[in-house]
């Protein structure tokens, strides 16, 4: 005989669908909000995480990538002389104005990199090569922002800060948290766009030699270079994410939305499971009269909630993954890593079981007269 829990669930298809819709709604809502939050966090720090550097040297007190203060290039040469340093590259970054072919302006995040060395350079190129940045006026943009930047293909010319620029390549999936798309060019050209003196840089990206102790090198850099901070890449990425997520308040709303999603989800699931148990209350009362122990009743109710949770989660997460996959083609990515899927499964299971435990209280305190009423 199939279990009573299974039969109870599948006998009334309409009620099952209502229960599952509640759980699916909750899973989709929660996972999408969490995925959006993670997507935003990644967008804030992706340029740092994917820089390929072990250490970042920045002006003292820097709070985020976009607001670095230029310092003397002498530090670049001093850093090269530190034991354990394999390579040092300069990077400038700032907001700039991009004039579209149509004539309208767009804010961009202009990043000037040293093409050689592979630190801070663009990744995921789908058209063109990094070396193409050596061409006159060359810039590389992300294909997600083609429309926003008013470009359609390689070779198109635009203006950055009133100077000529030409698109030589496209990347895929380099997003920024702000609405300003990332645009890559060479260090020297970026300096010219910004009007930055040729002996100044905003960041130094440091790669360590094989076997070098990162903390030892960091300490040596801090002692040698004055008025700067030396940060591990992960540390700077965290600082950057924290700045955009919390100090600007921009991410707080996303986080609150994610938490609200979770709370609404818990409430929806709790109510759905509770209502489902209440619908069967008379049957539980009958079972109790027949001599079923409370443990047996708990088993039936919890099994029902677990089956509902597993089915609802599976459908919900399939929908969320489809939405997340589609989002990869947009400027707002929804990221659903394995740990989020696993955590959500446990949360769904837990909230379904908790909701059923609440209704179990009702079952254990059943008025026996209810069983006898016709």
């Amino acid at each position: 005989m199939a279990s009573l829990a299974w039969r109870n669930l599948f006998h009334d298809r309409v009620r099952l669908v209502v229960t599952l819709v509640g759980i699916v709604f909750s899973v989709v809502l929660t996972s999408i909000q969490m995925g959006l939050f993670l997507g935003f966090v990644r967008a804030t720090s992706d340029l740092i995480d994917r820089s390929g550097a072990d250490l970042w040297v920045a002006s003292s007190g820097v709070v985020n990538l976009e607001n670095g203060i230029p310092f003397s290039e002498r530090k670049f040469y001093q850093a090269q002389g530190i034991a354990g340093v394999a390579d040092v590259r300069r990077l400038t970054i700032n907001f700039a104005t991009w004039k579209k072919p149509s004539g309208s302006d767009e804010s961009i995040l202009l990043i000037g990199v040293e093409v050689e060395g592979g630190m801070g350079t663009p990744w995921n190129l789908v058209e063109g090569r990094i070396e193409d940045l050596h061409q006159p006026d060359a810039v590389i943009v992300d294909e997600l922002y083609k429309s926003k930047l008013g470009v359609t293909g390689i070779g198109q010319t635009v203006e950055i800060m009133g100077r000529r620029a030409r698109v030589v390549g496209f990347t895929r999936g380099i997003r920024t948290f702000t609405t300003s798309p990332a645009v890559f060019t060479t260090l020297d050209r970026a300096r010219r766009y910004f009007g930055l003196p040729a002996d100044q840089a905003i960041f130094l990206l440091v790669r360590l030699s094989n076997g070098a102790d990162i903390e030892v090198v960091r300490q040596a850099l801090k002692e040698r270079l004055t008025f700067v901070e030396v940060l591990r890449t992960t540390e700077f990425a965290r600082r950057q994410a924290f700045y955009w997520m919390f100090e600007t308040g921009a991410g707080v709303s996303v986080l609150i939305a994610a938490l609200l999603g979770l709370i609404v989800g818990v409430v929806v699931v709790a109510q759905t499971i509770y209502a489902s148990t209440m619908d069967h209350l008379r049957e539980y009362g009958t079972l109790k009269a027949m001599g079923a122990s409370n443990g047996y009743l708990y088993g039936v109710i919890i099994r029902q909630s677990v089956i509902s949770a597993v089915i609802g989660y599976s459908i919900g997460i399939a929908i969320s993954l489809a939405v997340a996959t589609t989002s990869q083609k947009t400027t707002t990515a929804i990221i659903l890593p394995g740990w989020i899927l696993g955590t959500l499964f446990l949360v769904t299971l837990l909230m379904c079981m908790l909701a059923s435990v609440v209704s179990i209280n009702k079952v254990t305190r059943l008025d026996p007269a209810m069983v006898f009423k016709g």
Partner: protein, 230 residues
């Protein structure tokens, strides 16, 4: 005695607002006896049935089931008494709509730890006994009221209890079907010496009683072998 109720009181509320659903009730029912509890609505019949069925605890007094004092048993021990000693028949049948007729009976057997082929065999024997073997695979919703009550009787018998407590078993049935159900219950009482307590308002059922106990305002107001006109 299969059931002994001694000085049982069941009260609700406190102080001046106390309501006595039962007030110092004494009642004994012997094996093989078919006892009818009668009385107006709200007189305490169902409360007494619930206490005899170990579903409700009395406020004071003692209850013995098959010689065992059950008043002091814990919430963990009472289901065992119900499972081993008591079968219930309800006015509204209380069948599980998600289970077939056979599965409704098997569920009761499963609770006693009887599963698999043995459970199936026993459920078929019980269905045969109530004349519904051909309905084994049907859903309860497809049965008539009389058939549902027969299934409920078969389910109540599944655990081979010594006591069957029936709450208005004929209330939802027409006269002919009701009489057939009462015939069946009487046979069950007499063939294996089961104790059957029936709560009813139905005067047509009285000829089936071995004894009739009348309750009013929570107290036994009369009892005897007198039977109605039938």
């Amino acid at each position: 005695m299969m059931i002994e109720v001694c000085g049982v009181t069941k009260s609700y509320g406190a102080g001046d607002a106390t309501v006595h659903a039962l007030n110092r009730v004494d009642l004994s029912v012997s094996a093989g006896e078919m006892l009818f509890l009668m009385g107006p609505s709200g007189s305490g019949k169902t409360t007494l049935l619930s206490i005899m069925g170990c579903i409700l605890r009395p406020t004071s007094g003692a209850v013995r089931i098959a010689g065992q004092e059950v008043t002091g048993l814990s919430e963990r021990q009472l289901p065992r008494i119900r499972l081993e000693q008591i079968g219930f028949i309800f006015q509204g049948f209380n069948l599980f709509p998600a289970l077939t007729v056979r599965e409704n009976i098997e569920l009761a057997l499963n609770l006693k730890g009887i599963r698999g082929n043995e459970s199936r065999r026993r459920s078929e024997v019980l269905l045969e006994r109530v004349g519904l073997r051909d309905k084994a695979g049907q859903w309860p919703t497809n049965l008539s009221g009389g058939q549902k009550q027969r299934v409920a009787i078969a389910r109540a018998l599944a655990g081979e209890p010594g006591i069957i407590l029936a709450d208005e078993p004929t209330a939802a049935l027409d006269g002919t079907t009701g009489r057939a159900i009462l015939d069946l219950l009487r046979e069950l009482a007499h063939e294996k010496g089961r104790t059957i307590v029936v709560v009813t308002h139905d005067n047509r059922a009285l000829p089936y009683a071995d004894r009739i106990v009348t309750i009013e305002d929570g107290q036994i107001s009369g009892q005897g072998p007198e039977k109605g006109d039938g």
